[in-house]
């Protein structure tokens, strides 16, 4: 290794050698990311403009594949499902996550044990826990059988097999998986709230529910935004949940765009349709994530100076 006294390097170019080394260290990653992320995305975009079926072929058909995609019932169902899923997931996770965080912040005994229990679903693959969920939701062996066994013979809980309700089982599973994580984020936010503000409000005679509602929750607004972005992002790319629970069924009633894409690409060999659906997912995620990352990076910049 070459020792590097101050001012060495390429003074003419104004580049210090540590900067040059850094650049060289980063170069392989930059190339890898450039090729495997950005060029591949562009390539997927190109395939979506062709009539490829089994293998990529380059006979361009313009935006035809997109037109076809949006005229496909199955895709429309998948899109409706993903918005329904995202909306319910975000709403339920925010409400319950905030409630649990506030409750857990009341100097609770065994807080650590409870937190560990709430968060473990994020550590395990849903391919694993989906097996248990499927069994719980399966009318012939799970909750329906249990409740009927208690004497409620007319009890019905067969959402898993009902085309109109199957998507809600995905919502339950998604909520089960991510609400503990939302709790953890809110709890971290609550622990960051200045206790002096709370004290001052109490001296003024405000009740605790009121203090939470009108002082603490508004302070947590940025946390709400972060959580919403993260959950929306997770919802848009959910895949394992559906594979493990319903495989998109009955029929394709609980398909999401991700399972649609997988199915068209790897099972039906409609490569161009798969690529077009992939581009739609990508554009949506980009529209959600890029403004968020941009503001995060800007804040970081502003904070540094």
């Amino acid at each position: 290794m070459v020792p590097e006294p101050k001012g060495s390097g390429f003074p003419l170019l104004g580049i210090r050698s540590s900067t040059l080394t850094s650049l060289l260290v980063l170069l392989p990653t930059m190339i890898a990311v450039g090729v495997f992320v950005y060029a591949f995305i562009a390539w997927t975009g190109v395939i979506s403009l062709t009539s490829s079926r089994f293998v990529p072929e380059y006979n361009f058909v313009g935006l035809q594949q997109y037109g076809k995609l949006w005229n496909t019932d199955r895709w429309q169902i998948a899109v409706n499902n993903v918005w329904l899923f995202s909306g319910l997931l975000i709403g339920a996770s925010l409400a319950v996550g905030l409630l649990l965080a506030i409750f857990l912040d009341q100097k609770i005994r065994a807080e650590n044990v409870l937190r560990t229990i709430y968060l473990y679903p994020m550590a395990i693959s849903f391919i694993v826990t989906g097996i248990a969920w499927k069994w719980l939701l399966d009318p012939s062996v799970g909750i329906e059988k249990l409740v009927r066994g208690w004497g409620f013979e007319s009890f019905h809980f067969d959402w898993l097999n009902d085309p109109k309700k199957a998507i809600y089982t995905i919502v339950i599973a998604g909520f089960w998986q991510s609400s503990g994580f939302v709790m953890a984020v809110f709890l971290a936010g609550l622990r960051g709230v200045d206790s002096e503000i709370v004290k001052a409000a109490r001296i003024d005679g405000a009740s605790m529910p009121r203090i939470y509602w009108s002082i603490i929750v508004p302070i947590l607004r940025p946390v709400f935004l972060s959580v919403m972005v993260v959950l929306l992002y997770q919802a848009l790319r959910s895949f394992d949940l559906v594979v493990a629970l319903t495989k998109g069924g009955p029929g394709f009633a609980s398909d999401l765009p991700t399972t649609f894409m997988y199915n068209y690409t790897f099972s039906r060999f409609q490569l161009a349709q798969g690529a077009a659906s992939a581009m739609m997912i990508l554009l949506t995620v980009t529209a959600v994530v890029v403004p968020y990352l941009y503001s995060e990076l800007r804040n970081e910049h502003a904070g540094a100076h």
Binding site: T21, L23, M30, F36, A39, L100, I117, Y120
Partner: protein
Amino acid sequence: MSMLAPTERFDLDMARPAATSVLWKRVGRFGIYAVLIIFAAFYLLPLLVMVATSLRSMDEIRSGNLVSLPHALTLQPWMDAWSAACVGVDCIGVRHYFLNTFLMVVPATLISTFIGALNGYALTQFTFRGSKIVYALILFACFTPYQGILIPLAKALGWLGLAGSIPGLIFTHSIYGLGFTTMFFRNYFISVPKELVRAARVDGAGFFRIFFSIMLPMALPITVVTIIWQFTSIWNDFLFGVSFTTGQNAPIMVALNNIVNSSTGERLYNVDMAAATLAAIPVLIIYFLAGKYFVRGLMAGSVKG
């Protein structure tokens, strides 16, 4: 008030007369614990059902219900899951896939963590105008929905002679892990005082010398966070595994999904559940031993950009 210290933050109404106020506090306190415990049960339910069912014989499963306690515990389902469960006509259990997955996860985790550490440090030393843009572009790579790159990646793995193999998955996970690992280390190193690096440089230490003898030892906590993050996400991966491997090259999650969906003869729920529990064990061990680090990664990985 000091005697009621634990309830301090959730006192329903300060203005109420003292006696009622104490009563209300008790009720509120009880309600809080009730809600927290009910949710703990909700989160635990699938895991408990999974483990309980895996320890029962099929006869007992057929006659009992969800919550009926096992009469005679049996480890036979676990042994079957480990070495005899079938995927189609392949009856080799999860053992083989377990090993596959370790052979994939360990190298991919180490490679992506090491390169990420180098990158993270380089990014903080890289004082070009474009450094922020380079970082932003690498960061976006973390959030790319994989649907956008699956089709080109399948082609590329074919060209590289890595299609359908464990080395192919090591390569894939190493590349797509770089965004996260780089981000973790960069955000850690950026808070290291600049004087430290400057002083070492004046003493004649070069980039790699500083990295290996100062920065890396100092970065032990974030290294643990990164290794745990990579290990769990690669172990739990389903999408890459199911897209790029077939048969006996599959990683554990794909094999598990195949075992559960293998429909020859009677569904052996107990064996399915035992296989699922086995597939989750490495990640559960990490979570219960080093949950703190896992949660740190989770927060950094999904909330802070």
